[in-house]
């Protein structure tokens, strides 16, 4: 695609200006840039061979990350159920669901790592701030998904069951729930996968989990140990992805 006319000219000037500005105001010395390559190579060299003796720490940190993801997700589900209803067009009035949706958009806009730092400040180090941060951050997305699941329910079968004499609970159980449940299950699993992946690095800011060991080993120059933990994190991410692909196939 080619840029055309004044708009195109303005856009390219803006991009060029932004790049120039970044170069001029950041202290990027050409000599340092040249030596960066060998330095990185040397750094990577010090990571090899990865130190396998940290298996215990990996298991401990990995289990903690898993716990943070599970409990954080649980918290998000508990928060998202009422917020999802309050953000649904079919359940509440426009002023209310618009307000709640705006609130959820704000929550989504705050990066998890930032929430985690704030929570560490508020409740101290350890998995607890991680759990709270995950629950808070994930609710921004999950409540929105739940609201969409509620709004996607078709009304006609509900009216049909009412016409047959079914009470409100029976209608919820047999007309609303069957339409909503698969959507909610799929969205919740999707969000859990994101939570697990994102909480791997929470330890870097002191909010618990396997990331704590990466930070500790890098700070104490034990790069071979940091390498092992990093490899473990990569393996976990790939495993999560593989499980997710398998699950998606089941819900397709």
């Amino acid at each position: 695609m080619r840029f055309r006319g004044f708009g195109g000219f303005a856009a390219s000037t803006l991009v060029a200006g932004a790049i120039l500005w970044s170069f001029m105001t950041t202290d990027v010395e050409f000599s340092r840039l040249l030596s960066a390559g060998p330095r990185i190579a040397e750094f990577l060299g010090r990571m090899f061979p990865p130190d396998p003796t940290v298996m215990r720490e990996i298991m401990k940190g990995g289990a903690e990350t898993l716990r943070i993801a599970i409990l954080g997700s649980l918290g998000a589900v508990v928060l998202s159920a009422p917020l999802g209803i309050l953000a649904s067009e079919t359940m509440v009035s426009p002023p209310l669901y618009r307000t709640v949706r705006t609130l959820l958009a704000f929550i989504r806009a705050i990066p998890l790592i930032l929430v985690a730092m704030l929570m560490v400040g508020a409740v101290g180090l350890g998995p607890l701030p991680g759990i709270i941060a995950v629950a808070f951050h994930a609710t921004g997305m999950l409540a929105k998904f739940y609201a969409e699941a509620i709004d996607g329910v078709s009304r006609a079968p509900i009216a049909a069951l009412e016409s047959a004499g079914a009470g409100p609970l029976a209608r919820l159980r047999h007309a609303i729930w069957p339409q909503m449940a698969p959507v909610i299950a799929r969205d919740t699993i999707f969000r859990f996968e994101l939570n697990l992946r994102e909480s791997l690095i929470l330890g870097i800011v002191g909010a618990g989990g396997i990331g704590f060991y990466i930070q500790t080993y890098v700070r104490s120059f034990q790069y071979d140990k940091a390498a092992s933990v990093t490899l473990a994190v990569i393996v976990m991410v790939v495993a999560i992805e593989a499980i997710n692909v398998a699950l998606r196939r089941r819900f397709a």
Binding site: A159, S163, H174
Partner: protein, 260 residues
């Protein structure tokens, strides 16, 4: 025996609409009769059937169904609702549930609230549902999900759900509109046959006068919310039928209402 449906001077306008959808309708349907409602699009057929099902509020006049008068201001007692069965124009099935579950849903109003909530049907509920499936010729589809069915198969599920409800009055809104002629005749044979076998009254709306003649004992013509004729099938003239559809062409107001 009281008539299945008795309507006296009934008028109704949909909320937000100035034009009445039903105007001064009077109608008497004896128990056990099969009645067809004919009329052009927008005539008020769906509106009339929904009103008899107790789903519309704010009408004028007097209407009683199965010996109990309807209240224009509040829905019928839940205990009465299973007695009136409705076959919806768009089926209104739970797409992700199985055929059997959908047919069992027709029995929810006849179960105890706890059983209805738990979805634990008695063996009688199950037998009734399976019999309805067999009557509709879809016993082999019981475990299939509705979203995997064809339009004609869905139509049968919708009718089976209504029959499983064991209604004494069957209201069917264009139950054959989406079917080919052979299928349509089959479905109407099924519907009116099932009603007769159960001693139930049936009212169905249709756009096909020839099918109405074949399957109804009485035919009611509606146009612009009014009853234009109400005759035994044998007395219905070709001319009356033709006029029913021609009238609307001369009445632009009705045509417009059908669009809006």
């Amino acid at each position: 025996m009281s008539p299945a449906v008795q309507i006296d001077d009934l008028s109704f306008a949909h909320p937000g609409s100035d034009l009445p959808a039903l105007e001064r309708i009077s109608l008497l349907v004896p128990t056990g009769e099969s009645v067809a409602l004919l009329g052009p699009s927008g005539a008020g057929k769906t509106t009339l059937l929904a009103l008899l099902d107790g789903r519309l509020r704010g009408w004028q006049g007097r209407t009683s169904v199965l010996g109990a008068s309807l209240d224009p201001d509040r829905p019928p007692l839940r205990a009465r609702r299973p007695d009136t069965g409705f076959v919806f124009q768009e089926f209104a099935l739970v797409e992700r549930s199985t055929v059997l579950r959908n047919v069992l849903n027709g029995r929810l109003g006849r179960m105890s609230p706890l059983r209805a909530l738990m979805g634990s049907s008695t063996s009688h509920d199950l037998e009734t549902a399976l019999a309805a499936l067999a009557d509709c010729g879809i016993a082999d589809l019981a475990e299939r999900r509705v979203d995997s069915l064809s339009g004609g198969q869905r139509q049968r599920v919708a009718i089976a759900r209504c029959l499983a409800q064991e209604p004494r009055l069957i209201l069917a809104d264009e139950p054959v509109s989406s079917l080919d002629p052979a299928r349509a005749a089959e479905i109407l044979t099924l519907l009116t046959g099932a009603a007769r076998a159960r001693g139930a009254t049936a009212m169905f709306s249709s756009h096909q006068p020839d099918l109405a003649r074949r399957f109804a004992q009485r035919i009611v013509g509606i146009s612009g919310g009014r009853v234009v004729f109400d005759v035994p099938t044998s007395d219905l003239s070709e001319e009356a039928t033709a006029n029913l559809y021609r009238d609307t062409e001369r009445m632009p107001g009705v045509g417009l209402r059908a669009v809006s």
